[in-house]
């Protein structure tokens, strides 16, 4: 099963799912539940999920597997983004950065 977060909310896709094309949120976490194996978790930033012919493809602008996330770097990025949000409330770039950093940490299995 594939679980992704679209702009409408979380969507879980089981085998034989009807064709769907969804827009993914910025800084979401994608989870692929596999039989007999541990979950595949990835931080996905923006993009699309498309389901067709019993195949799920995720087109992301940027993505990173949970196991590959540099936790220290992501924490650092989150701290920096939050600092600049506190300094300037309307800093939308920093808000996106913070979202991305959070998604990366969550994908790596860290508490945020």
């Amino acid at each position: 099963m594939v679980i992704a977060k679209t702009v409408d909310g979380e969507i879980g896709i089981m085998p034989q799912h009807a064709p769907v094309l969804g827009v993914l949120v910025e800084g979401g976490v994608l989870r692929v539940k596999r039989e007999g194996e541990s979950d595949l978790v990835a931080a996905v930033h923006g993009g699309f999920i498309s389901v067709a012919d019993d195949e799920v493809s995720v087109l992301a602008e940027a993505a990173e597997l949970g196991s590959e996330v540099d936790v220290a770097a992501a924490r650092d990025a989150l701290d920096r983004a939050q600092a600049s949000i506190e300094a300037n409330q309307e800093d939308s770039d920093a808000a996106v950065e913070a979202k991305r950093a959070r998604a990366r940490l969550r994908a790596a299995g860290e508490e945020v």
Partner: protein, 300 residues
């Protein structure tokens, strides 16, 4: 005679050093092609999927009127993205692209459209500034190793101009397609408005007749189309980068071959000149000795 010999020697040295440079360029280009090809390969799955998604949306939601899919009734301006390289020494690479761009310009103007060129690569930009052609946008400095953010920047400029009422109404790309190490073709593609392509009915992976959209078809299209344009431009940039290196390798190889041939001819000429000089010296000495001998014989 001595002067000619020295002249030939000097030419041989200069040809030899040129050959060294072109040979090095050839080797550099060959190693770069491999990397450029790998980058090209890496981008293929994304482009394939996004094209599939766009096809899915457009063929499913015919009712969706998005400014990016609908051809304007009276197109007045056409934007042409011309993909050239930053550096020369690549044979006819840039000339071919620019020639094709000129042909497209003529064709579009024949349809009553005015053409706005958007140019990437120093060579193309130089070509346009030299002719005082106004450009809608120009980007330089990344043609050897284009990043996705470069494609994004270009796409944003083009899409903004496309959405603008006084902006461009069509987007074409003129770039070089990398077919193989030996074959690169200049291709002209229309990106927007989307072109309806007849797909073969025998294709096994047909798109299912319906699609659900999250949240709505229009929203999906709204965010999907810019990505699609970006991806098309990115592919064009990558293919052009690989083609540039391939063209350079070929140009440098023939330059090296020519230099070697020239060296062979010049060496032959030099040897001839040296031999002629020696022959002359000998005949002078023999002639002198004979004259002395004759003079001595006459005295007796």
């Amino acid at each position: 005679m001595g002067a000619q010999l020295r002249l030939l020697r000097r030419r041989i040295t200069s040809v030899k050093s040129t050959a060294k440079i072109t040979r090095a360029q050839e080797l550099i280009a060959s190693s770069r092609i491999v990397k450029a090809q790998q980058r090209m390969q890496a981008a293929i799955p994304y482009e394939r999927e996004i094209t599939r998604a766009v096809t899915g949306v457009v063929s499913n939601a015919a009712s969706v009127d998005h400014p990016l899919t609908v051809a304007k009734d009276n197109p007045a301006k056409a934007g042409v993205l011309i993909v050239t390289s930053d550096s020369g020494f690549a044979g006819g690479f840039n000339a071919n692209v620019l020639r094709e761009a000129e042909a497209l310009r003529g064709h579009l103007e024949g349809r009553g459209l005015s053409v706005v060129p958007f140019v990437t690569g120093r060579k193309g930009v130089g070509w346009h500034t030299f002719r005082n052609r106004e450009m809608g946008g120009s980007w330089v400095g990344f043609t050897r190793k284009p990043a996705y953010s470069d494609a994004k920047e270009i796409a944003n400029t083009l899409i903004e101009s496309f959405k603008d009422d006084n902006g461009i109404d069509e987007i074409h790309i003129v770039s070089t397609e990398f077919v193989s190490m030996l074959t690169q073709n200049v291709v002209v593609k229309r990106v927007l408005p989307l072109e309806v392509e007849e797909t073969e009915a025998t294709e096994t992976t047909t798109i299912p007749p319906y699609f659900e959209f999250e949240p709505t078809a229009a929203d999906v299209l709204e965010s999907l189309l810019p990505r699609y344009v970006e991806s098309r431009i990115f592919t064009a940039l990558l293919q052009s980068a690989a083609s540039e290196e391939a063209a350079r390798r070929r140009a440098m190889k023939s330059a090296t071959d020519n230099a070697n041939e020239l060296m062979r001819v010049l060496t032959q000429q030099m040897n001839q000149a040296r031999q002629a000089e020696i022959t002359q010296e000998i005949s002078e000495i023999v002639g002198g000795a004979n004259a002395l001998a004759d003079a001595a014989a006459g005295k007796e």
